[in-house]
Structure formats: structure tokens, C-alpha cells
Amino acid sequence: MTITQLLGQNRKQFFRYITGALLTTVNGLSQTFALSIAFGIIEAPESSIVPRIVGMFFFAVLPIPLQYLSRFLRIGFMRDVLIQVRSLAYQKIMHRPIEVFKKQSKESAMAMVVSDINLFEKDFFLAILNIVFSFGSFLIGEVILFIISPTIGFGTLIASSLLYIVVRFFEKPTREIKRLTQEANVDYTKQLTNVLQGLEVIKLYRVEMNFKKPFYQIVQHLENIKQKAFRLDEYQGNLNVWIASSYQTLVYIYATYLFIQDELSLTALILVFNLIGQLIWGMINGFNFINRFKASMDIFERITKVEDYPYGLSAFNFKKVLKVKDLSFAYEDKVVLEHVNFEIQPKDKILITGPSGAGKTTLLNCLSQSLSSFTGEVFYDHTEVRAIDPNAFLSNCGYIRQNHFLFNDTIKQNIILNQKYDAEKFALCLKQAALSEWIESLELKAEHKLEQDGANISGGQRQRISIARALYHDKELLFVDEPSASLDDQTALTIYETLLALDKTVILVAHRHLDYLNQRFAIKLELTKAGAHHA
């Protein structure tokens, strides 16, 4: 989504926001006006003193309700846009195929949904507001100046142009340093997650000092880059401030000269002093924010840039055959799978074995659309796996991975996920996954709440919940990657028997209980480092 589309969607709110921002342009001018009315009193006739005092107070206080109103017109829009931007970032990440997701570090994804948006939030709105405020005030102020003294009006235009040149000069390095800051932030988060996730290991091995050092370095690096960014900002600011105050001094001398020549009234003199200050400082502010606005747009684009992945569109059909033809896969320059060929029919149960590192999990990933960069072909009936619509594929295939992730929710919710609850089916799945006994022993039964990633239960329990989850979801084709790793022998056998009894296709990867499994499975595939053999 582009920023124009985003604003277009929130047209009404955006209109209110801009109205709110425009309201602020009057504020500075109003108080300047109040001051000049006040100083006019010195020269004014007795009769106009009271109206002038009333006028002074009116213009002095006017900005407060305006500011109040302006703020309320603006913050609603800010909230809505930020919710949308957050959602866009989240969707972008979640839209990625597993394969793409796994290639990037989790921290960079995290940074996009958390710290980048904070950066955007900080700059984007402040920038719009200040730009509108500064240029609005400038426009109104210039008109007044030209009426009072065309020379001063013209001089102010030139001074402003000078300021603009400075800003342009700093533009490129500013954007560059923002980008570097972002990168440094990612590295920092990475190192941080490293230390925090590994806290227990670090404590157990008592290597706190060893981890402090790299962490210190990364903090130092991040702060150094931020320091550079800050300095760049400040240099630009200081240069502008200097130009502005020098110009102000010049105008001061000139305006005094005009006053002496009786070409300016005292009210006009005061107005000129204050206006010049305001306009020039306002412009500095406005120009600075142009750069910040652009930088925040860069972030926005990065967050929301659509990533396109080639998705298949064909329907999923597995009525006749799953055919693997000459499948090979290499990770970087390491060959993992070489010329794998086999064929199975629906409802077949196939056992895949082989030493660790022979590519058992990789093969499952190739068959299940989790990995697409292999050579050779995998056909479900007549369609190549990579041409199948992922939604159709997932609706028909289940996959019990080795990573048994559990949500911070009840056992029941972790099993049924987004499906309807069917008590009978649920009980059956618990039984099939050898979970019933344990769950019965829990006070809250299946309503027992799990901590994030099941930190409060044992590895075997995690594994069995993950199996029950796949059983409950009842897919035609089930990929199973080493279901017994954390299970004792007897429980493992229960699980194997459950899988064998399913009226579905099961592709099982295993490295234990091979004697038993080889007896029970009719179709076997043994992977070696050299290639695959049909046993």
C-alpha cells in the first residue's frame, strides 16, 4: 500500500487532521499580534487604551482553544493510521511463505513490527504538523511583511531560500544515517534476543562476563550511529539557527533605521521584530521536518512494500498417486538429497529412515510445500507440488513438525485451534495421542492453561499435544516428522499404532524403533548420504 492509498482510505479523518494542523498556523501570529497591539499602547491616544487591552487579551488567549481543538482533530487520525500501519507490517510478515520466513532472522521481523513503527510514529505526524504549521505561518507572515515593508519581505524570502539550500545539502546524509540507524537497531535486537533467550544457559555456564562484552560492543555501536545521526541533525540545525539569528540582527538594524526615518510606526516595528523571528525560526523548523518526513516515508515504504511470492493456483488432487521424480536438493554447496525417486498411492503408509543429516526432514519439506528450491519434480496426481494453491494444499495436508510450538492458551484451544469443538472427536484424539490419562489428572482437564510454548509441561506432553492437534484436524495426507523423540517406548508405540490405523496417507520420518517400524510399515524408503533406496 502506498501512503496516498492509506490517506485515501482515511479521507475524512485526514481532512480533519489537516484542518487541525492548519489551525495551528494562526497561533504564533495571533500572539505576535497581541504583543504588537500591547506595545502600540505607548504611542496610542488615551481613548484607545481599553480596546487595545481587550484586543491584546483576545489575541493572546485565542491560540489556546485553537490548539486544544487542533489536537483533538489530529490525534484520532494518528491512532487510526498507526493501527493500520501496524496491521500492514504484521500481515506482510505473516504473508511470507515458511521458506522465506526461515531465511530471515526473527529479530528483523520483530523490529519491523515493533521498533520501526515506533520510529515512524515519532517522525511522521510531527513532521506533517510542523510542515503545515511552518509554511502556513510563513505564507501569512510574508503577506503582512510585504505590506509593511517590501524590502524586508523580500529579504526574508532570500534568507528562507538560503535556509532551504542548507536543508537540501543535508538531505542525503540524513536519509542515509537513518537507514544505518535502522540496521544497527536490528543488530542490537538480535544480540539482545540472543542474550535474553539464552539467559538460563549463560547463567548455567557462568559466562555472564563473556556475553557482556559483545553486548556492550553492540550497544556502543548502536549509540555511535545514533550519535552520528544526532550530530548531523544538530549541525544542520545550528547552521540554520546561525543564519536566522544573523538575519534577524540585520533586520533589526534596518528596521530601527526605518523607524528613525518615520517610515514605520512603533506597532509595525514591534510586529516586524516578532514576525521575522517567528517566520525564520518557523522555516528552519519546517525545513528540518521535510527531511524527517522523507525519512519516515522511507520507513513506511519499507514496512508496507508488498512482497510478491509466486503462488500456485491449481487445485489439490491426490486420488491416484504421489510421484517423486529425481528429486535433489543442495543447501549452499552441501548436497542434502540426491536423485530421490518413489511413488505411493492414497492411504499408503510410508516410512522414511536414514542417518541424521541424510535429509529426512528436508524431503518432507519438499513434499509439503515448505521448501520449493529443489530440482526434480513432485507430482500429486498430475499437478506438480509447486503449482498447487497453498491454501488448497494446507486444507488437505497436515504436518507434525519437530518444532512443537504451543500457544499461550488452554490445552483444548491448542488442539482444536480454529476448528469447531466436537467433544467426541476431541476425546478420541486425546486417546489416540495417549494424552487422556494425563489430562484427566489435571485439575482443569483440557482447560489447563499452557504458558507460552508450553514452558510448564514436559517435552513428551508437548509432543503429544502437537500430535493430537494434527489428528483433530483430520487431513487426508499426514506428514509426520519423528513423532516419538520425546516419548518413552510404550507411548511411542501407541502413537505408531494410531498412525498406522488411520484411514489416511501417512508419510513418517523416524530414527528410533526401526526394527519394529520396519515390520509394521509396508513401504519403506531409506535415505543415505548418497541417495535414496527403496527397501
Binding site: 542474550v195 555472564e208 562484552k213 544526532f230 550530530r231 541424521s356 494446507l394 494425563w438 507411548t491
Partner: protein, 546 residues
């Protein structure tokens, strides 16, 4: 964290002194304006030119000073943030091992990223601004004093009134800021969970549900932010109103006085610009202070997150003789009842101990208790006859090297993961890799995302190799065979049984041939731990009843 609230104090002093210098020069140039006006009025062109030249020189000096001032300010900023972040991580790492909690990790992460960013923006940067604004105010006061001392009294009274006003109105902002922190944390947790469970979410097509839940979190964050904005708006408006009314009453009054007395135009200009200079600081004081007060709540929360009860554990232990359970009930603190009852076991130095049991039988509970992640529900556990809860935690944990199935693989090379950044003899590393059958793995290979680019078996073996590199008295293995093929698992067990250290091997996978090589075997079953000497019974019980 409180002693770091103002960042690096030496640098704070340096930049303050520097800002005083700049402000003084600025003030002097405003002071000169008065003469320009008065000489202009008196038509003394010579003197006017003199003063104008002086002013231009000051402007040039100011440019130089400003350019030097920038690196000073940026140094203060970065020194402060480095110092605070390091202090925070030090506190995290210095916690007692028994108090390390996994659920705290995201809170620390949020503190060290989001919250520190906000603190930098809203406190440290605002602090510099506050000093700057305060100096401008002071400069204006001095200039006013040069015209009439009465004006100073007025300015000072104003300052006091406004600061008081602000401190009273910032309370509601503080509360809403704290609430925003909490919702940001929940948001961060949720994102983290989504990334951890990415595969499962995809596999089960849960994207829609997850998205809806995410949206709710994002809304909560922004709504709380909105509330902060509303509160700040109200507070600011009130503060501004009072300030404006007071200021303009003063200006109006002053001008009426000036009208009836004779005041030089030059002096009047100084008064105008000084009041102007005094006014904008005043209007900035309150938002600055209210933001700073609002965010300072974050530091209090940091302290809360990092403070744990301090235990007095004076007993030092150098070596391991015996670990003894004495009729203990074991379980989780927040759950009623216990998982294991009347646990009675003792392990002596040099013994090889096997603890077997079916999945969910309570083996992990036993281990967690040994590692002091859990406190026994009944009775005490003794190491060398001393209550383990009175033993210095570092001494205690130095005795163990733990290998478990969860573990953690750090971002970094294989080597970093082995030596954990400690200086280590390369042959030790190579030996360890050889023992676990990982010679083929390149020590310089980069690992990311908790070892997701390794296979399950390689990951388990790497963690085992890590433990072997460490010098300790007891090796504590928690289900290390789960992800290994039989041949590797057997050879590792063989190596472990040969090492001249105490071994506590907790496993549901056992090998018949090696059972006899253990000194003791305990079975965890139906809530009890029992020692068994009948090897064939153990074997058949563990295998199956089919």
C-alpha cells in the same frame, strides 16, 4: 536504575557549562541591541557602527561555539544511553540463577528497546532542552535586572508558579503512560508468539484468527496512546491558559507603566525581547516537565522488573561429595498438590546414575528441583549435608553442567556456541565435537534463530558438546537421546559413562547393554521415585506391555 536517571553526570556538567557560555554570549548580543537603538535614535552613527561590528564578531564566535557544542551534546546522549543499557543488562545478568524466568524475557526485551528509546526521547533529550530553556530564562532575567530589578521578582514568581502547576497536573499523564507501557508489552509478546509459532500458524491456516487478535493488540496500544494524548492535551491547555493570562497581564501592566514614565526605546526593546525570551521558555517548561515526569515512571518499572528477593546464602562449597533428597514432595509452586511424593535418593561423587520414567512421570520436576528452578514442597535437599538453599548459588551451579533438550543455540558461529566466548584450547573443542560425532560441522558456520539451520540431531549434539567442554563435577543430562539415532546415542552414552565425573542421566530412552554400567538406577513412576536393581525388570517395564 535510579542513579542513572540523568544519564552520564560528568557529561551533563560539561554540556551545561558549555550551554551557559553560549547563552551568555547570546544575552550579550541582545544587550547590545539596546545601544544600537539608542545610538540610532541619537544619530550617533560612529558608535552605532562600532556596536554593529561587535555584534557581528559575536555572531561569528557563536557559530564556532555552536559547531563545537554539537559533538559535546551527542557525546552526553550516547554515553548516557550506553551507560543505562549496560547497567540494565548487568542487572539482568547478575540475577541469581534460581530467579531467571523465561516469561520475563520479553519484558526485558521491551524495556531495552521500546522503553529505552522512549526514555531517551522524552527524558534525556528533554533534559538537555530543559537546561537550555532554563538558561535562556536565566539570561532574560539578568537582562531584565539591568533595566529594573522589580522585573526580576516578577519573572521568578512566575517560574515558581508554573513549575508548581506542572507538577500537580502531570499525575494523570504518568498513569496513562504506565498503561501504555503495559499494552506495548502485551503487543510485543503477541508478535513474538506469532513469530515463534509461524510454521504452526501457516500449517493450520490460522492467519485470519491471528490477524484479528493482533489487530486488537495494535488497537489497545494506539488507544492507550490516544488516552495519553488526550490527557496531555488537557494538561497543556490548562497550563498554557494560566501562563498566557499571567504573562500578558504583566506585559500590559509594564507597558502602561512605561507609558506614564519615560523609558528609552532601547530599554523597551530589551524588555520586549527579554520577556519574549522568558515567555517561550515558560511555555516550554510545562510540556517538557510533564513529559519527563510521565516517562520517569518507566524507570520505576525497570527497577520493579529487575528486583528480586535477595536470599542469604552464605555457605561456600568447593567440591561435590553427596546430593541427598530427604522425604521430599516436589511440584510447581502455583499448582496444588505435588507431582512426586516422598522422594528419597542420594547420589555420591563419581557415581553414574540413570533416572528413567515414562513421559510425564515427573522426571523433569526432579531435574528442575536439582537445578533449583523449583523449591521442594516438603523437606530440604542436601548437598554435602548442607541445605542447598543456603549454599551460594554460584558455587552450587558451578558443580553442574547441564545438557537438555530445550537449551538454546545463540546467534553466532558453532565455535561461539561451544566456548560461549570463553578462551578455550582448540583441541578441547575438537575433541568434544568428535565425541558427539559432529566433526563434519564447520566451527565457523553461522547459526541463527536458535539453531534452526541445524537438524534436530545436530542441535542436540552441539549442546552436548558444549557441556563436555565445560569443567564441572556433575554432568546432568535431560533427555539428550531424544533427537539422536541409536548408534550415536549409544556411543555418547558410552563416552559419558567413561568420563570421571558424576553423571545424572535422565532419560526415557535406555539401552539394554549399558544398564549394568550404571551404579544406580531410579524409576520415576506414579508419583514416586524408586531405586531398582533388577535390570531386566527395568528394561521390560520401560519397553512396552504390548
Amino acid at each position: 536504575m535510579h542513579k542513572h536517571a540523568y544519564g552520564s553526570k560528568p557529561w551533563l556538567v560539561i554540556i551545561t557549562v558549555y550551554m551557559i557560555l553560549i547563552t551568555a554570549l547570546n544575552g550579550y548580543s541582545i544587550y547590545l541591541l539596546r545601544f544600537i537603538t539608542d545610538y540610532g535614535l541619537a544619530r550617533e552613527m560612529d558608535k552605532l557602527v562600532d556596536v554593529a561590528i561587535q555584534m557581528l564578531i559575536i555572531l561569528a564566535i557563536l557559530l564556532v561555539l555552536e559547531l563545537i557544542g554539537t559533538p559535546l551534546r551527542s557525546l552526553y546522549l550516547s554515553k548516557s544511553m550506553v551507560q543505562m543499557k549496560q547497567a540494565y543488562i548487568d542487572r539482568v545478568l547478575d540475577q541469581d540463577i534460581t530467579q531467571v524466568q523465561k516469561e520475563q524475557v520479553n519484558r526485558y526485551l521491551s524495556n531495552l528497546t521500546n522503553d529505552f528509546d522512549r526514555y531517551e526521547l522524552k527524558f534525556i533529550k528533554n533534559l538537555m532542552q530543559l537546561i537550555f530553556v532554563g538558561l535562556r530564562f536565566g539570561m532574560s532575567v539578568v537582562l531584565l535586572a539591568m533595566v529594573h530589578w522589580g522585573l526580576v521578582v516578577v519573572a521568578m514568581v512566575l517560574l515558581v508558579v508554573f513549575v508548581k502547576l506542572t507538577s500537580r497536573t502531570s499525575k494523570p499523564v504518568q498513569k496513562t503512560e504506565a498503561k501504555k507501557s503495559a499494552s506495548l508489552e502485551a503487543y510485543t509478546d503477541f508478535v513474538d508468539e506469532s513469530l515463534q509459532g509461524f510454521e504452526i500458524i501457516k500449517q493450520h491456516q490460522l492467519e485470519t484468527e491471528r490477524y484479528e487478535a493482533f489487530h486488537a493488540h495494535a488497537e489497545a496500544v494506539q488507544n492507550d496512546n490516544y488516552k495519553v494524548d488526550v490527557k496531555t492535551t488537557q494538561v497543556d491547555a490548562l497550563n498554557n491558559l494560566v501562563q498566557t493570562l499571567v504573562m500578558f497581564t504583566l506585559i500590559g501592566g509594564g507597558i502602561l507603566v512605561a507609558r506614564s514614565t519615560s523609558l528609552s526605546l532601547g530599554s523597551l526593546i530589551v524588555i520586549v525581547s527579554s520577556f519574549g525570551n522568558a515567555m517561550w521558555p515558560l511555555s516550554e517548561f510545562s510540556p517538557l516537565l510533564s513529559q519527563m515526569k510521565g516517562i520517569s515512571q518507566v524507570l520505576i518499572d525497570f527497577d520493579k522488573n529487575l528486583t528480586r528477593p535477595v536470599y542469604y546464602r552464605p555457605i561456600r562449597v568447593q567440591s561435590f561429595n553427596e546430593l541427598m533428597f530427604d522425604q521430599n514432595d516436589l511440584g510447581y509452586p502455583d499448582e496444588e498438590g505435588s507431582i512426586l511424593k516422598d522422594v528419597d535418593l542420594s547420589i555420591k561423587a563419581g557415581e553414574k546414575v540413570l533416572i528413567v520414567g515414562r513421559s510425564g512421570s515427573g522426571k523433569s520436576t526432579l531435574l528442575k528441583t536439582i537445578r533449583q528452578s523449583l523449591v521442594p514442597k516438603k523437606g530440604l535437599i542436601y548437598l554435602n549435608q548442607k541445605d542447598i538453599q543456603s549454599i551460594d548459588p554460584h558455587d552450587y551451579h558451578r558443580l553442574f553442567s547441564t545438557v537438555d533438550q530445550i537449551g538454546f543455540i545463540f546467534n553466532g558461529t558453532v565455535k561461539d556456541n561451544l566456548d560461549l566466548y570463553q578462551a578455550m584450547d582448540p583441541t578441547i573443542l575438537e575433541n568434544a565435537m568428535h565425541k558427539v560425532g559432529l566433526e563434519s560441522l564447520d566451527l565457523s558456520q553461522e547459526l541463527i534463530n536458535n539453531g534452526s539451520n541445524l537438524s534436530g540431531g545436530q542441535r542436540a549434539r552441539l549442546m552436548l558438546a558444549r557441556a563436555l567442554c565445560l569443567d564441572s563435577s556433575i554432568i546432568l543430562c535431560d533427555e539428550i537421546f531424544a533427537n539422536l539415532e541409536y548408534s550415536i546415542a549409544k556411543s555418547i552414552e558410552n563416552d559419558l559413562l567413561r568420563v570421571e565425573k558424576t553423571l545424572i542421566n535422565v532419560s526415557h530412552i535406555i539401552f539394554k547393554e549399558s544398564l549394568g554400567r550404571y551404579d544406580r538406577i531410579f524409576i520415576v513412576e506414579e508419583g514416586f521415585v524408586q531405586e531398582s536393581h533388577d535390570l531386566s525388570n527395568i528394561w521390560s517395564r520401560m519397553l512396552d506391555e504390548n
